[in-house]
């Protein structure tokens, strides 16, 4: 359970990071959201055998981490969490796709391995950019941005409430599981027979809480409509930021920079 607890603290750490006041943090949430979306779209649009062209795009997350004062270690640690996912997605590529594409001396590299590496780089890039978005913007501002760009309000409110009560639910689960482990001596973890009643309890308590929250909302005049205050303003700085990155992404997309640099180097000598 210590793992769960540390994950929870990790979540709070992301909040702390989002509360900083750097240049990146002060940008309009919409701008950051669109830039991240553009980045993800560009990265995923590369062909499955592409590796070298993807390399220059790492400049984007690195620059943002530096400008946004984000600790590299912290974000890299979170990437490890998705590592198993990457492995499963790309696992069968080297097995099924064995057409040789390159020779490194006696070593023949198959298309499967190339695409496996490509998938890994793409996943690392996209997940990092999403993490950076959360760590520089915060869930609340992202939700406000989602609402502004026309995502239906009920969905945005769901995300907000989920995030708000995730903390309460986690705390409750931690206490319950602690109470369980203090009175169970047979092993670490929760015995499968106890999961049913444990989760059942949690569900019942959550339903009771939902009822109380609804009452609290009614008491303050809730009429089915949640009114959010408008946040964030698009300024000239935001436009420059977005155009700069979009130009950079497109440049990387349509020009294989490592290849061009290599050619220049070779021609120079």
């Amino acid at each position: 359970m210590i793992k769960l607890e540390s994950n929870w603290l990790d979540l709070r750490r992301l909040d702390d990071l989002a509360n900083q006041k750097t240049f990146i943090h002060c940008l309009d949430p919409c701008t950051k959201l669109f830039t991240t979306l553009a980045f993800v779209m560009i990265v995923t649009s590369f062909s499955k055998y592409e590796i070298t062209s993807l390399i220059p795009l790492t400049f984007y997350p690195i620059a943002l981490m530096a400008l946004g004062n984000l600790p590299y270690n912290h974000l890299l640690k979170r990437l490890v969490v998705i590592a198993p996912f990457v492995v499963f997605v790309g696992l069968f590529n080297p097995i099924f796709d064995q057409s040789p594409v390159a020779n490194l001396g006696p070593l023949v590299i198959s298309g499967g391995w190339i695409s496996f590496i490509s998938i890994t780089i793409k996943l690392i890039l996209t997940v990092t950019s999403a993490l950076i978005l959360v760590a520089t913007t915060g869930i609340n501002s992202i939700c406000a941005a989602l609402f502004r760009i026309g995502i239906p309000k009920p969905i945005v409110i769901q995300i907000l409430f989920m995030y708000r009560y995730l903390h309460v639910l986690l705390e409750e689960f931690l206490i319950t599981s602690q109470a369980y482990s203090l009175r169970s001596f047979h092993s670490s973890g929760i015995h499968y027979k106890a999961w049913g009643s444990l989760l059942g309890q949690l569900l019942l308590r959550t339903m009771a809480r939902a009822q109380r929250i609804y009452q609290a909302m009614l008491c303050r005049g809730f009429d089915g409509e949640i009114r959010l205050l408008a946040m964030g303003m698009r300024t000239k700085r935001d436009n420059i930021y977005f155009v700069f990155w979009l130009a950079f992404f497109l440049f990387c997309r349509f020009l294989n920079i490592p290849q061009v640099l290599g050619k220049l180097l070779l021609e120079g000598f």
């Binding site: 109380r212 009452q215 609290a216 303050r220 959010l228 205050l229």
Partner: protein, 251 residues
């Protein structure tokens, strides 16, 4: 609703599972009074509070707030008049930030943004939590959560404040600050609590509930001097009225 009075006449409430929580309860609370509702667990305190702003409706009998009966038609007006502070602040603070939460009520009242801003600032200033405005509720301490929960209600500018266990789970300092804050309010106050020392500090009148009926209703000081009555209700004298255990041993 110029007179912020509360009248309950022969109120009976039975929960859907068949438990009768209030048995023909009648009481009158006048404008500006500070009244404590005390009683052992399960005596019906929370059920009684829930009737004051239409969270529950009586199975029989009438609840009148400021001369208006609590019905589905008058609910909006009643809830504007009666502000309810819940026992658990986590139930009351559901919005992403403290500011949004305090603004939730005034926005529902349909106030223009500039007035909302004014009310939020004023309410947070009153409870001394203005610097917490941009914090998410889950990053607040117990005392801060309680203060903000009260601010969310104050921002609605109610005439009657109803509080369920306001000092529960507070450390001594936060408790003392809360008592000092509540003392400054001129609202009609109804406080359900087990904290009899706070009652002694804040409420001139006390109502003892026992099994859904009123066991005693009178001046706080008289009630707390009646040990037999307190015993009967499953309560004991506030510690400030008990003789000091160390001194009495020495004596």
């Amino acid at each position: 609703m110029s007179h912020h009075t509360i009248d309950l006449t022969e109120v009976l409430y039975t929960y859907p599972d068949g438990t009768t929580a209030l048995r023909n309860l009648s009481l009158h609370i006048g404008h500006g009074e500070a009244v404590a509702i005390v009683g052992s667990n399960g005596s019906g305190k929370t059920t009684l509070l829930s009737h004051l702003n239409g969270v529950l409706f009586p199975s029989s009998g009438i609840v009148n707030i400021g001369g208006y009966p609590v019905t589905k038609q008058t609910l909006t007006q009643i809830r504007r008049t009666v502000g309810m502070v819940f026992q658990n602040p986590d139930d009351q603070l559901f919005m992403p930030t403290v500011y949004d939460d305090v603004a939730f009520g005034p926005l529902n009242l349909g106030l223009p943004p500039i007035d909302v801003e004014k009310r939020v600032t004023a309410a947070l200033k009153t409870v001394g939590a203005l610097e917490l405005r941009n914090r998410p509720p889950y990053r607040l301490s117990g005392g801060q959560k309680r203060a903000v929960a009260i601010a969310t209600v104050l921002a609605m500018e109610p005439a009657i404040l109803v509080m369920d266990e306001p000092t529960a789970a507070l450390d001594p300092l936060a408790r003392r600050q809360l008592i000092n804050l509540l003392r400054t309010f001129t609202h009609t106050k109804i406080i359900a609590t087990h904290d009899l020392d706070m009652v002694l500090d804040l409420c001139e009148r006390t109502i003892i509930l026992c099994n859904g009926t009123i066991l005693m209703d009178g001046p706080t000081i008289d009630i707390f001097h009646d040990k037999k009555l307190l015993d009967q209700a499953g309560l004991e004298q506030p510690s400030s009225m008990q003789s000091c255990p160390i001194c009495s041993k020495l004596g």
